[in-house]
Symmetry: D3
Subunit: 242 residues, 6 copies
C-alpha cells in the first residue's frame, strides 16, 4: 500500500513536518512518503496562490501514477486541485480539509476551524459546504499568522493554541480542526492544552486514504471523474497535455 | 486497540457474518469481536424495531466499557441509539450508515443506497440529512427482501445485485452504499458484477473507528455527549439506571 | 373523542401537572387522561434517558390501542419514539415539541426555545430541522434547571421566566416555546410577565390531536408508517413482540 | 370565540361552500361566519388576481376588527395578504395553504398538493418554502380546471379525484392537500375514493384558528407585525389610510 | 429603448430623486422616465403599505404597456407586486432589491443591507431568500428613519452613513446594499465615506433592465407568467379587470 | 470603459466568435476586445483542463491590469479562476456561467442549462450552488458534443437546438442557459427555433461588467479579495510571483 502526501507549496521544510505527522499514523503495512511540489508559490494564502499551486500538484500526481502510488493526500487546507487530481489518479485522492472535517463530524455536534490568515476563511467555508460539513462547522477563526511563520515565529505555538481555545469558547464546539498543513505538529500540544479533540488533516487524510485502499475502493468509473481527454497544449505547460 | 462491533438485532448468524467482514479489514494491530444484542427483535425493519433494539445495544456498550473496549461499531443501517451510545462510551462509536455514507462521498459526486424493505428508506434519508450527506445521496432504493431473507433466500445475492445495478443507472451515481449489515458479505461480489464501487458499512465503520483510535480522538467533553446523569428507574429496565 | 397524554418519564407528580394543563384546553367533547410510563427513567435529560424512555412509551401506546384511545400526545420535549408510536397507533400521535413549534410559527417571524439543561439543546435543534421549523427557531436557550427541579426548586418559576425574557431579547423573537413538559403550568405566568406569546407544547399538542381527530385524519396507510411487522424477541422486552 | 372565514374572491356561491365546510368542524363553542370580499376579481388564478384581491381582503379584516372578530381564515390557497392581515388584526390570521400543509406534515413523510391551474403551482411552492413545509411537499400537481369550474363542470369531482390518485402514485406521498378553497366540499369524497388522508385547508385553518384562540395566543407584539403606521393615501383606496 | 421607473408610493418628491439617479446611469440610447403611483400610501413601511401599493403599481404597468414602454423598474425595496407585474408586462420588470442584491453578489463574499425601519427587515430577508441571495446577505440593519424622513431630516445622510459603516463592521461584509429607493442619492456619498462599495437598487435595476433589453430577453412564455386571464371585478378596482 | 473578454482555452477561432458576440452588445461607449489565453489546453472539458487553463487566464488578467483594462469577462462556462482573478484585478471580473445564471433568474421561475459533454455537468451544478442560483437551475443537460465540434460538426447547430428544446420540455423551465462559450453564436437561432428565452453567457457577462463599471463598483477592499501577497515561486511559473 503506497501512499503519497503532496505538499502543494514549494517549501521543503514544511514537507518534512507533514511527512513526519503522516508517518506517525500510517502503520507498518503502508509505504508512505511526502513530496514537495516542483513548481508554484512557497506558501498558499490566497485564491491566487491556490490556483497557481495546482499545476505543480497535478504534475506530482502524474508522476505518482507512473511510480505505482496507490493513493494521495493533498496537504494544503484549501484542498487545491482535488477534482482534477481525482480525474488523473486511478486510486483515492483526499484533501486534508475534507478528511479533517469528516473526521471531526464523528466527535459531536460541531467543530471550529482555526486557520492562518483571515483571507483564507472564505475558502474553508466553501469547502465545508462542498463536503456537506456546513452543519458541523460552527465557526472559522483566523490567528493571522502567515503560513511560513508557523515554523519561524517563536510564539506560533502559543498563538495558535490560544486561537483554538477562544474558538471553542466562542462556538461552543466539540472539536477543533486545524486549518493549515503547517499546524500538523501542533496538534497533540493543543489538545493537551485545551482539553478538546483537535484534528490535524494530514494525519486524518492519511488514514482516510489508507481506509479506502483497505476497502479496495477506487474512484468511480462514471464520466465526471474518468481520465481527462487528451488535449493539445500551448505554452510552458505543454508537458501537461498528452 | 480493542474494537467491538455490536449487532443490535438478536440473530446470531448475522453477527457471525458481520464479524467476518469486520475482521477482514481490521488489521493485525486490532483486537476485534462482534457481539449480538441480548434483548430485542430478531431483525430491524421498522421504526418500532429500531426503538426496541436500543436498550440491548446500550447494554452492550455498557458491558464493553467495563471490559476495556476502545471503540464501537453499531452494525445496523438505521444507526440505532447512536447519540445515546456516544454518551455512554468514552471512545468513538460509529454507525454503519454514517461510515458508509461518508466513505462513499470521497468517491465522486454521489451514491445510491440500496436497502431491504421500502419502509426503511425514510430512516436512511433522515440519516443522510443528519450526517450532511444529503447532497451526495442521489437515491434510496429498496429490493424488498426482508433482512433475514438475505441469509435464507437462495436468490438474495442476485436480487440485491440487480437492485444495485438498477440504482446506479437510475441515479447516475458513482457508488452504491449497501443499506443493511446483512449485505456485508455481498459487497465484493456486487462490485465485481456491476463495476462501480460498492460500500459495506460494517467494514467502513470498522476502519473509521480504527482511524479515530489511531488519531487518539475521543468524543468531545462538551455537555451534550458527556456521560448521562444517573437516574432512578422503574420497571424491567431498572438495571439501566445507576 | 378519547385523547391520551403519555408522560414518558416515570414521575407521577409531573403527569398530574401535565394532565391538568391538557384538560384545561381539551374541551367538553373530549375524554382526556394522562398516564405515566411504567418503565424507564424518572426524568429525561440526555439522549440515553430518551432512548430508555421509549419502550415504556410504546407500551403505553399499545395499551391505549386496546383501550380505544383515538389519539396521543407524547409529553416530553424530545418527542421520544414518535416514529415508532405512529407505526403502532391507528390514530394521530403528536409530540409536544412538534406541536409547540408549529403553533409558534403562526405567530410571527420566529420563536425562541427555552429548555432545561443545555445538553438537551442539540435534540431540540434536531427536531426543529425535522419538522421544517428551523427557519422559525431563532435560538435555543437553557436555564440549567434539571427537569425535576422545576417542581421542587422554589426559584424555578423566576428562573424560567427570566430565561424566557432574556431569550426574546437575544433573538428578537416573536414568541417563546417552553422546552419541557414540566414547564406547562408556568406558561400563563410567563406570558403575563414578559408580554410575548408563550407556548406550552402539552396544550398545543392536545389541540393538534383534537383538530386531527375532528378532521377525521389518521396516519397514512403508506408503507413507512404501517403497523410494524411482528418479530421474535429475546430478553426482558419479549412482551413487545407479537 | 368569533371566527370569520374570508373568501378573497368575489364569488358568493363559493363563500357558501366554504362556510359550510368550516362550520362542519368549528364546534358548538364557536361563532363562525364566512364573508365574501367586496372588491376584486371573481376568482384567483394568477399573481395578478392574487395581488388585486388583497385590498378587499384587508377591508374585510378591518371591518372584522370593528365587529369583535377574534380570528380569521383567509380562504384562498395562495394565502393572499397574510402578512398585511396579521398587522391589521389583533388576533390570529391563518391561510388555508398554511394550515393544510402544517396539518399534512403530521401524517407521514410527505404530501402532494393538487391544485387547479398549473400556473398557480409556483405560488404553492413559494408558500411551502415560506412555511418550512418544503421538505414535506413532495409534488404539486394541477388538474387544469379553472376555479369556478369546480362548481359548474359536471366532471369536476371526478377530475380532481383522479388527479389526487395520480399525485399520490407519482410522489409516493402519505396525504393529499387540496390546493383550492373551492375543493373543500370534495374532501371526504376523495378520501373515500383513494384511501389516503386528504386535507381541506378551510377546515384545517378553522381548527388552527380555534386552537390558537383556545391557547390564548395572539400575534406577537414585535415590530414586524405591529399595527401598520397610519398613512396619507391618494386615489380610490383612500379609505384604507387612517 | 424605453424604460420606466415606477415609484409605487405616492410621494412625487421621491420620484424626482429616483428619476435623477436612474437617468445618471441610463445611457444616451435609453429613453427613461420615472412615474409616481396614482393611488396608495405616501410611503411603504409595512406589509400593509406594500400590499396597498400594488394596485397603483399595476395600473402604472398597464398604462406603460399601452404607451410602448419596453421595461420597468419597481422602485421600492420590498419589490411590491413583482410577480403580478411580470404577468402584465411583455418586457422585463425588475425590483430594486432584486437588482441590488444580484449586483452586490458579484463584488465579494457578501453584503449588508441597511434599511429604514426595523419592521421592514423581515421583508428584505424574504426577498434575499427568494432571489437565492441569502448566502450573500450577511446582515440586515435598520437605521430607524422613516422613509419620508430621508428627505426631511437634516441628519438623515449622517445617520444612514453611520449605519452603513456599522453594518460593514458587524457583518464583515464586502458591500452595502441600500434598503430604500429614497436612499438612492446618498449612494456616492456613503461610498466615499466608508470606502466599500455601496449599491443603490434604482441605478442597479435600471441597468439590469437595460441589459435584458439589449440581450433581447423578454419574460418566458411559460404558463406561470403568461398574461393573466381576464376576470369580472367587483367594486372600486373594477377597471383592473379584463 | 475598457472591457476585455478572455477565452481561457487556446483556440483562436473560438475567441473570434466570442469577440463578435460580445461586441454585438457592448455599446458604442465601450472599448472591448477578446484575447486568447497564451498557455494551456485547446479546450476545457474536464476539471483537469479547467485547472490547467487558470495560469493562462491569470496571465491575461495581469497583462490587462498593466494595459488599463477596466473589467473582464471569463469566457468559459466553468468560470475558471474566478476568485483568483478577482484578487488580481482592480475592477470587476465576471464569469459567463455567473452572468448567464443571474440573468436567467430574472425571466421566470427557472432555467435549464444545456452543456457540451455530460462530464461537465457537475461543475455547472457546483457553480449554480455557489451563485445562489440552485433554486432557479431546474436541470443540466448535455448534448455530448465536444467543445471544438461546436465549430466543426455540420450538425452542431441542430444538435444543440434539439437538446435545448428537450431540456425545456423535461424541466418545465422558462429559459435556457447555453453552457459553453462556443455556443454564443447559436443563441439567436435557438431562441427563434424553440420560442423561449435563450441566454448566452458571453453577452450576458459583457453587459454585467459594463453595468458594474457604469455603477462605479469595484471589488471590495475586504481581505479575501485584496491583492494576493507576493510570493517566491519555483519552476516554470516563476513569472507569476511577486
Amino acid at each position: 500500500m503506497r501512499i503519497r502526501v503532496i505538499n502543494p507549496n514549494t517549501t521543503r521544510a514544511m514537507t518534512a513536518t507533514i511527512e513526519r505527522c503522516a508517518l506517525a499514523v500510517a502503520g507498518p503495512d503502508t509505504v508512505l512518503d511526502a513530496v514537495t511540489s516542483e513548481m508554484g508559490p512557497a506558501s498558499i494564502e490566497s485564491h491566487y496562490d491556490e490556483a497557481m499551486s495546482v499545476p505543480g500538484l497535478l504534475a506530482a500526481i502524474r508522476r505518482g501514477e507512473t511510480e505505482g502510488v496507490d493513493g494521495y493526500v493533498i496537504a494544503c487546507f484549501g484542498d487545491p486541485g482535488l477534482d482534477a487530481a481525482r480525474e488523473l489518479a486511478a486510486g483515492p485522492v483526499i484533501g486534508i480539509a475534507e478528511a479533517a472535517m469528516h473526521t471531526a463530524s464523528h466527535l459531536g455536534r460541531g467543530f471550529s476551524v482555526v486557520t492562518t490568515l483571515g483571507r483564507t476563511a472564505g475558502r474553508a467555508a466553501d469547502l465545508a459546504e462542498r463536503y456537506g460539513m456546513q452543519r458541523f462547522c460552527l465557526g472559522i477563526h483566523a490567528c493571522e499568522l502567515p503560513v511560513l511563520a508557523l515554523d519561524t515565529d517563536p510564539h506560533a505555538r502559543k498563538i495558535v493554541t490560544e486561537a483554538c481555545r477562544a474558538a471553542v469558547a466562542a462556538d461552543g464546539s466539540d472539536a477543533v480542526v486545524l486549518g493549515c498543513a503547517g499546524m500538523a505538529d501542533l496538534c497533540a500540544h493543543i489538545r493537551d492544552e485545551i482539553g478538546v479533540p483537535v484534528i490535524d488533516g494530514v494525519a486524518a487524510a492519511t488514514l482516510t486514504v489508507r481506509s479506502l485502499l483497505t476497502l479496495g475502493l477506487r474512484k468511480s468509473g462514471r464520466g465526471e471523474f474518468a481520465a481527462p481527454p487528451p488535449k493539445t497544449y500551448t505554452g510552458p505547460l505543454a508537458s501537461f497535455g498528452s
